[in-house]
Amino acid sequence: MNYPIRCMDLSKKFRRVQALDRLNLEVPEGAIYALIGANGAGKTTAIKTMMNIHEPDSGSVEISGKDSRRLRGRDFEFIGYVSENQKMPEWMTVDYLMGYLKPFYPTWDDDAATGLIRKFGLPGDRKLSQLSRGMKMKAALASSLACHPKLVILDEPFSGLDPLVRDEFIEGLIEGAEGTTILISSHDLAEIESFASHAGYLERGRMQFSEEMASLSARFREVEVTLGEPAGLPGNWPAEWLQPQTSPAVVRFIDTRFDENTIGERVRKLFPRMTDLSTRAMPLREIFVALAREERRAA
């Protein structure tokens, strides 16, 4: 399998802060990869290192097989990058921006550009400085997608956007970048869940897990155990069962290695007086919150 993005033992330190700590990450070709993590987890640093905005202290990043440190001009012809912090040329109108960028991209598609502008409802004659934040992000996305990039990297693109604009943004992204490999970092987990194929969870600069969304959803379950009589938590509580909560005759926890075939047996071992066991699939947001809480607790 091809991996347009590969991070290998990537480390980056800013003075005393270890932003990335031997990060390993592989984004398969064609995947929509959601990079999630709490604030300060290292998502933006990882992305900026991929784009050769930062240089890694150690380890390396390969973008389409090329060391990120050697990414130069023409390498960006097939990469679309949109970031919440990007300083746009505010004096340009939307039309001028698109027209200006066109000669830089050999695969620039005027029809696609026009379609994206229309779809996003962007006023072509308006300067970027006169656009709302959401409109600016859409303009940045349109300018990144009109060249049919092979790889799209989005750093917190939904931040500060209202729900309607988010929907339009995602719709435009999915339609405009069909078949493209996409890496997206975001806190908007509910939105990401609707279209991401893979997810990676970054914690203090290290990748905690990285897997397909389907297997992630299958692996996490909220488990509720009803007991015949009140009982406390046993001492040999499994590490993979997070956030245990007890009420007199009910125990709830999150199983991070859920297996439908073995869960009953494993619970019964700890709670022999179990009378009922129910499990509930968790949305990505709840998984993320549970992991973030666990991270804070551990810290």
Binding site: I53, G73, F76, S83, Q86, K87, P89, Y100
Partner: protein, 491 residues
């Protein structure tokens, strides 16, 4: 190249109002000085500080803004993740600056030469070389600072920092270098001083456009700025030392210089607000200087003033000068001003020069023999632009200076010929001697020709000067009290 043109066109579209201002300023300069040939900074300086500052400010702004249009510093610019060919980007910026700064500068120079009656073709090579040098001096530092910043606020902050560092480094050099020590020198202290700056600027621009290593670039620039400031003062000292053509026939140490505390200082003017900086002139007592020799200050003086209530304040302007009333030190003393006695301290470097008079010329329009060496002409094509033109046929050594003298007035300048050896004065370009010199008197607008023409006792003196030694003296004025309590609003 196509990409470079594409970026250039974008920059023109973005920055045309400011570039128009630059072109207009150059045009204004060209139109307003029909008889002052030459171009570049020296000629600009002749237009007075306002136009010079305005042109400098406009050029630096345009240079920085053109770079910031596609900034490479920091992390956020849009363009660093776009398929820009960095060489094309650099070429676009170079083209922009060539079209909107270099060409107007050159065109203005040509216009001025033509209007001064000098053929364009003979002076074109000279103008080109000079304008390239001026462009480097004027624009290159701005470009280098522009490449390591990404907006005008950061740029302005960096420029202020640069000037501050330069000032501190130069000041340190003044107080720690001994004149007369053996140091290599060029004929122009500024040229050697600008070498590290120009080299570093090229390296910084190259490094930024090739690798975008902003922190390295900034460090390199900072080192170059300090080195330039250091070298400027160091070389100024070295230059004076290197130009000693013959050893003095007397002991330089016998020359004593002190503030003349018995003579009341003269109030001259305020520098900006009257409560912030006031300029005075203090008589100097010079002893042990043989006849036929003079003192000429060089380098940047270091001076400060201290009083108990006001504390110690650095003095930015402290220039000694030989006037009609003898040697005087012109000092701009910063506030606050109190009635408490102040202690003035100044470290000054002097060249000791042997002077020989070549000729005395009456101060009135006409043609006069310059002794046995040639002739001089005093022309008055316009009353406000009287010129002294000298055509000296005999080879002379040393530096030529010319001065206007009459009772109470004595100002000499040697700004028009710097190198020793045979020379010829001509009305062409920068060699023209037109009665104005930036070194002719403090804040001077040139010799007061009209006043001189009205006086039968006024005359011009042409002379040669040879440096025979350099000295440094530390002067102290222990009980200086401001005699202008009402003027300075001291209670």
């Amino acid at each position: 190249m196509k990409q470079a043109i594409h970026i250039f066109r974008k920059d023109v579209r973005r920055l045309w109002p400011l570039t128009l201002v630059v072109v207009c300023l150059f045009a204004l300069y060209g139109m307003s000085s029909p008889d002052k040939g030459g171009s570049g900074i020296p000629a600009l300086a002749e237009q007075g500080p306002f136009l010079s500052i305005l042109i400098g400010f406009a050029c630096w702004s345009v240079a920085a803004l053109s770079i910031h249009e596609d900034a490479l510093a920091e992390e956020s610019p849009f363009w660093i993740t776009r398929p820009y060919n960095r060489m094309s980007l650099l070429a676009a910026k170079a083209l922009f600056l060539f079209v909107f700064m270099f060409l107007p500068l050159l065109a203005t120079g040509i216009l001025l030469e033509a209007r001064a009656g000098v053929g364009v073709l003979p002076s074109l090579g000279h103008l080109l070389a000079f304008d390239i040098a001026v462009s480097m001096w004027l624009i290159l530092p701005a470009l280098a600072i522009g490449t390591v910043t990404n907006n005008m606020k950061a740029f302005a902050g960096s420029v202020v920092t640069v000037f501050f560092i330069s000032f501190v480094a130069a000041r340190w050099t003044v107080t720690h270098l001994d004149p007369g020590s053996s140091m290599p020198a060029t004929n122009d202290p500024n040229i050697l001083a600008w070498v590290p700056m120009v080299l570093a600027a090229f390296c910084v621009i190259g490094l930024q456009y090739a690798t975008r290593k902003t922190q390295w670039s900034r460090a390199m620039l900072a080192v170059a700025i300090i080195a330039s400031a250091f070298l400027m003062e160091r070389n100024s000292v070295a230059l004076a030392s290197s130009q000693i053509v013959s050893p003095p026939t007397f002991d330089l140490q016998q020359i004593q210089i002190a503030f003349d505390e018995a003579t009341v200082p003269q109030y001259e003017s305020s520098l900006g607000s009257i409560t912030r900086n006031n300029c005075i002139s203090v008589a100097l007592n010079v002893q042990g200087l043989p006849a036929g020799t003079e003192l000429r200050p060089f380098g940047r003086p270091a001076a400060d003033v201290t009083s108990v209530p006001a504390g110690t304040r650095s003095i930015l302007y402290a220039v000694p000068e030989l006037t009609g009333e003898g040697y005087r030190e012109h000092i701009c003393i910063p506030g606050p001003y109190t009635t408490a006695p102040e202690t003035l301290r100044a470290s000054l470097n002097f060249e000791v020069i042997a002077v020989s008079v070549i000729a005395k010329i009456p101060a009135r329009p006409g043609t006069f023999a310059a002794g046995k060496y040639g002739r001089c002409e005093i022309l008055t094509p316009f009353p406000e632009n009287t010129q002294l033109l000298c055509d000296l046929q005999k080879p002379l050594t040393g530096t030529i200076s010319a001065g206007l003298e009459y009772p109470g007035y004595r100002v000499y300048t040697n700004s028009f010929v710097n190198e020793s050896g045979p020379f010829r004065l001509s009305p062409v370009s920068r060699e023209k001697f037109d009665g104005f010199s930036s070194t002719a008197g403090r804040g001077s607008r040139g010799w007061p020709f009209e006043e001189a023409f009205a006086r039968p006792d006024a005359h011009f003196v042409l002379r040669t000067e040879h440096i025979i030694g350099t000295i440094r003296r530390h002067l102290v004025y222990r009980h200086f009290v401001f005699p202008w309590t009402t003027k300075l609003n001291i209670k």
